[in-house]
Symmetry: C2
Subunit: 411 residues, 2 copies
């Protein structure tokens, strides 16, 4: 594993003083392999460069926001044009209406749109709307699912108090019986069920939704009056151009969006059905930067490029070829792997690698080979990837498997 670069090391030393203990949150290098770069100098298209000048093919895409590649020209032009007029003003720009209409046109279940900044603004607002719409309190949440980092859902409940989760109840993903049991435990009080398009809990093999599970959630909601909330923050636009459960034919009442919808510009959205319109108009949903226009212009351009160029199909095709290549490479080396989840958001693990030590070895060797992947989180395919990138990625993965095989043989 390459050591921490000198520039990165110096920035880390300064960050350990000026921040609580260096860089925090999901971008913390300590969550990855030893020597993983912490600070980023530059990014363009499918590539980024760390502060010590090392270049990487980007298969993490800033944990999802980058879907067309970094600084896509058409998005940049749209933002520049909007920014020359107004970004954060005394009211929204017309782009807010354009974008709301566009999203309502794209996403089947949506009759209206609201905007915010964080994915967790959107998921939290969905809970509030479900409670307001039903007059009930309880929200059913899949155990282990990630819906953001506010107190009600952070995976590391430091400073969390009982009230934060007083009206939550948990079920198991893909287990309709566990949903029924959770509903029975809160009779007449279930306001909504929040669910991810597929099971993508960090650090675990991923699981695609059983279509019967998805349909069953819809039926349970219809039978009880609860609202179905799809948390499409991480998956949105990487599974389907509409909502991620449109291919399954299951329509939520509310969906939460963020990450990829503006190709890296800060934006989140809640999309909802007519049934929720009145309470959505009554809730006080707001933030200082929620109406800013740059990110809305970026989103309009991102959607235009994705649609015109068939970006979702292209990502799925690249992702499918990548997975086939990864699995063939592993098989050729006689290495057992689990590669799970949607092909545009794959997660790779090694059986028995409980402490993710092999995953670290793998990701470090990939980085040495010029490919940036995360050892404990799913990766993200972007529409900027081409055939040459596929060759590079598979070559780096081969080096990663080689390193894992060497370490395994030694053990």
């Amino acid at each position: 594993m390459a050591p921490v670069g000198p520039v990165d090391g110096e920035l880390r030393r300064r960050a350990a003083v000026a921040l609580p203990a260096g860089v925090y949150g999901h971008v913390k290098a300590g969550e990855r392999w030893p020597g993983s770069p912490q600070f980023v100098a530059r990014a363009a298209g499918s590539r980024f460069w760390d502060v010590d000048g090392r270049e990487y093919l980007d298969l993490l895409c800033s944990w999802g926001p980058i879907i067309l590649g970094h600084r896509h020209p058409e998005v940049e032009e749209a933002v520049a044009a909007q920014h020359a007029l107004v970004d954060c003003g005394n009211g929204p720009a017309p782009a807010m209406v354009d974008l709301a209409e566009r999203l309502v046109g794209i996403v089947d279940h949506a009759d209206w749109a609201m905007f915010a900044k964080n994915g967790s603004d959107a998921t939290t607002l969905c809970l509030t709307l479900a409670r307001a719409a039903t007059g009930r309190k309880t929200i059913l949440v899949a155990a282990g699912a990630y819906h953001g980092a506010p107190p009600w859902c952070t995976p590391e409940p430091v400073g969390v108090v009982p009230g934060d989760r007083a009206h939550l109840s948990y079920y198991r993903y893909n287990d309709l019986e566990s949903v029924r049991a959770a509903m029975a435990a809160a009779p007449d009080d279930v306001a909504g069920i929040i669910v991810s398009p597929f099971r993508h809990d960090a650090g675990f093999d991923q699981e695609l939704p059983d279509p019967a599970f998805a349909r069953g959630l819809r039926e349970l909601c219809d039978a009880t009056g609860a609202l179905l909330i799809l948390d499409d923050v991480r998956c949105g636009l990487r599974i389907a151009f509409g909502g991620s459960w449109e291919p399954l034919g299951v329509a939520p009442d509310l969906s939460a969006w963020s990450k990829a919808i503006a190709n890296g510009y800060p934006l989140a959205a809640v999309l909802g059905s007519e049934r929720v319109r009145a309470v959505a108009a009554a809730v006080f949903a707001t933030g200082s930067f929620w109406f800013a226009a740059d990110a809305m212009a970026a989103s309009l351009a991102t959607l235009a490029v994705l649609e015109r160029e068939g970006g979702v199909a292209a990502m799925r095709d690249w992702g499918r070829r990548f997975r086939d290549g990864v699995e063939a490479t592993a098989a050729a080396k006689g290495l057992e792997i689990n590669m799970t989840g949607e092909v545009t958001m794959p997660y790779l693990s090694f059986p028995g690698d409980e402490d993710r030590a092999l995953a670290d070895v793998f990701a470090a060797a990939c980085a040495d080979g010029g490919l940036f992947v995360h050892p404990r989180h799913n990766w993200f395919v972007s529409a900027a990837l081409d055939d040459a990138d596929l060759d590079l990625a598979l070559s780096a993965v081969g080096a990663g498997f080689e390193a894992v095989a060497t370490v395994s043989a030694r053990a």
Copy 2:
């Protein structure tokens, strides 16, 4: 009052369909006078233009974020330079460390910084940190204070459930006895006291802090081990270049920042003392766009310009001359007014105007005179305002008072 412009009207009609019921949140035109423009076409320096081409001197500053004027050249240059490298990447850019060091250097009580997107991200994180640092649950909040729109603090509790506020207790601003009573009601369980630099509850006359109240809060916290949290989201950089209570000599343990710190770019920050460092390092505080570099570069440039040009003193001077002028104008017309709060964040009301009908008449007439002020919310002075702007503002205020006098005489 001027009618809604044709372009604004058409956008409103579309927004009523594609959004739940038109534009929502604090920017909703319905919160202002009839005919108030909803959509903004363009903004530059101290001015903005609505979509029907009407120009306004901006005394709202996008509810605070704009402190140097819209699209200040030095801020724009800094953002363009950063953006050409990377904004939302796989890790922070070096600007994150630069900005943390800068804020720690500027704000006396701060030993470290963390960043987020919304003011409410920062206030919510402060609550979490206080609870984690003390192992206690209860937070004391001033009744009627605005700390954001998440369920624990939204002023319109639609969809709010009991758990959201289970561990909050309320005191009255500037009333130390009420703080003591709230503390006594939660013996040994008070984790923190959150307080605004001055009382700026929307729709009410503002109240500056009694220095004995501020010192008393600090003493109560010291005596009980609770943390003092200053919510500097709205006031930060408009009262003092350091934290807003530095002039009072009262140091909080934590302060929450947002709005003006990046001249309109989306950024929030929590600044904290050594005492809170360990728990701040342990909490999982994160968001997809929290580490993005553009807004951090904007903040560094904003701080540089404010410091170099003595921006805070300049705003205070303009604000003082404006208030003197407004009060003299009112007196000359024999009109009673209340103009309250910091001179850089004034609020104007008319005695007995319970339904704010006179405030609407006033704000509408100001707008006709080319000055944009809010009838139910404090205004914001920016460093972009000059002597000619003062003349324009006072002339518009005179027209506003004229309109109020006419309506009052008729009543």
